[in-house]
Symmetry: C3
Subunit: 267 residues, 3 copies
């Protein structure tokens, strides 16, 4: 029999005990689960970075995936479970952090608000829903409790909006924004490799990148190693997003761009 799979993601510091407590809560409720940390140490309250991180869920087995990036904890924001068409459960606050991942998991099959106290750890802390609401929900779902047991259904259009939409794709033009800057100073944008195919920009095409009033000549290639040192290149990153980088350089610093900036790429 397959072991249920639970992943945990949060903006807790990697050297803090909240992470260990969530692992323990998961294993106490569902001892047979494989519980893995997808990522912790996300910059605090950074919903964009949290949503970008959760886009890695398609690379994990189908399972219950918890995300605790939750600036609104203690307010009236809802706690939710989203069932994806791939079969996953995404569990976290209703602040948009779970939405971009659903686009990569076949879309939303059903969403419910978590209101049933039966599946919460007691007493429920006003500020630690990761321990008391989200992780217990993931573990009970892994034990086979039906999603409808947790609370009332929510229409997908009532869910809080994602921190970013997908890039606008037109003939020969992709208009996106920066959703991640990695530690090399390379940037990922809210467009998939497939978006470029749709816009008619193909592998090896020359492109013009428009960012912060810079017009940058580049090419769409497979990896940064295909251009000379110091040259700009666009390619699909390991998670399917288009990344713009300078080979052995820092794109973000060189062109003064940052998270959230608009980037237009044309053929």
């Amino acid at each position: 029999m397959k072991r249920p799979f639970i992943s945990l993601t949060s903006d807790f510091g990697v050297g803090t005990q909240g992470i260990g407590i969530m692992r323990a809560v998961a294993l106490e409720i569902c001892p047979e689960a494989s519980v893995i940390d997808l990522r912790h140490g996300i910059p605090e309250f950074d919903i964009t970075e949290g949503a970008w991180t959760m886009e890695a869920v398609p690379q994990l087995p189908v399972g219950a995936h918890v995300c605790v990036v939750d600036p609104g904890v203690g307010t009236m924001r809802r706690s939710i479970i989203i069932k994806t068409r791939r079969g996953d459960f995404l569990i976290g606050p209703d602040n948009g952090v779970l939405i971009p991942a659903t686009r990569r998991l076949g879309g939303i099959e059903k969403a419910v608000e978590i209101t049933n106290g039966k599946y919460m750890r007691k007493p429920v802390s006003p500020v630690f829903h990761g321990r008391d609401v989200f992780t217990p929900a993931a573990a009970h779902l892994s034990n086979g409790v039906p999603i409808d047991e947790f609370g009332p259904e929510m229409k997908p259009e009532k869910l809080a909006q994602a921190p970013y939409e997908e890039a606008a794709v037109a003939k020969g033009v992709v208009t996106g924004k920066i959703i991640h800057v990695n530690h090399f100073g390379s940037v990922s944008i809210n467009a998939m490799k497939e978006d470029f195919a749709k816009s008619g920009i193909k592998y090896r095409d020359s492109i013009l990148i428009d960012a912060r009033s810079n017009k940058i000549s580049s090419k769409l290639l497979k990896t940064f190693g295909e251009v000379a040192k110091g040259e700009v290149v666009a390619f699909a990153d390991d998670y399917g997003r288009i990344e713009v980088a300078i080979n052995q350089g820092r794109f973000s610093d060189t062109f003064g761009v940052k998270l959230g900036d608009r980037i237009i790429i044309r053929k």
Copy 2:
């Protein structure tokens, strides 16, 4: 059958291999255990922070819980196992780091010194008892080896003292000290929510906080969100300790207080 539960806590850096080696030692001796990291990266040799961290054990399943914060390793300090009334085994150095957690786990049922070489990993390093003494003991206990097999019983009063006692509680006054400062600059003190109830200070009462010759007016509430930005508030933290904070501010910096400082709270 329930899987045995082992937690590991240490002051090793989160990017160091000693942690991975302890996990492996635990799993080699007791392959069926759920082994989780409660916390690593505790400030080096900081027994107060270690003891405060171990106060999270009541939130974990009953099991064997190792704590390696051990400035005295290589000296004559003893290695110990404490059995709690809840049924846990706490394993670590006899330097007080395990004591505060026992107060939250029903008290000490029995303590033994670890002297039986049969349950140590050989050769025993003079400086890595986490790997060679504490973790093997946790794993053998998880396999059902009786605590008396590990060495002679110690009377609880012979154990090294805790790094902090519980706050003194009188009518309308709680006299405590700061045992934790979190990364928001909020402080936790050595008093539980229940201590306030005992002293007659109730939820929503106005209080006067005396710290480093500051007299600070505040209230006992449920969470920091209940006061305006910049105001001081006292509430129970996620681990049951009373926390004093400034909503969206840094209490520790504002009032110049630090770990170990005395705090008096009166009605």
Copy 3:
């Protein structure tokens, strides 16, 4: 039945999702494995530090051990599996990072290049072989797939060289170099305790350490606690390597030595 054992080591930051994805890939292919992180957060592309870290594998159970320190990913460097005489599989890039560990695991029994796409995760990223090549290989080996299935055998002498050789041992003289500097500023050298025995330098002998034109009088002892504060001492570290330290001081800063420096120790 024994659970297969898989360890993961990398130069990925401890707060990045690549680590979690590798854990998930391992568990998806081999759900019964015990998957532990030996160490992450190795300084990026540092093959010496990676090789030194993998020397901890003898302290882990026999299993499949992945190391992703891979500055050459995306180039023509080979992916390899090394079977050790102890029975482990070491999996990673052919850049020498796996070689020092083999010396402590009985030597190399067989090496193969990983070329069989059947055991890779698809599509294979040009820059994330940890996820797509190495971890899948570890998990399939744990499932019992024979090493010869993965690709053609390589003669050990064709493998890329180790980042460091073992120290030269002569009568009364060990000529080595620094392969690790710890966060206390103590240094480990490429000599084992046994090398000192071979050269005739015994426990408690006075020694002369020659490093960066300093001539330092010291002793070979069991631990740094055996000398007075501020004195230099040599002893076997927790991994069997000879470490040179100043009790409560920083050897590396005091004498201006760094990774890769030559150290000569004579009786």
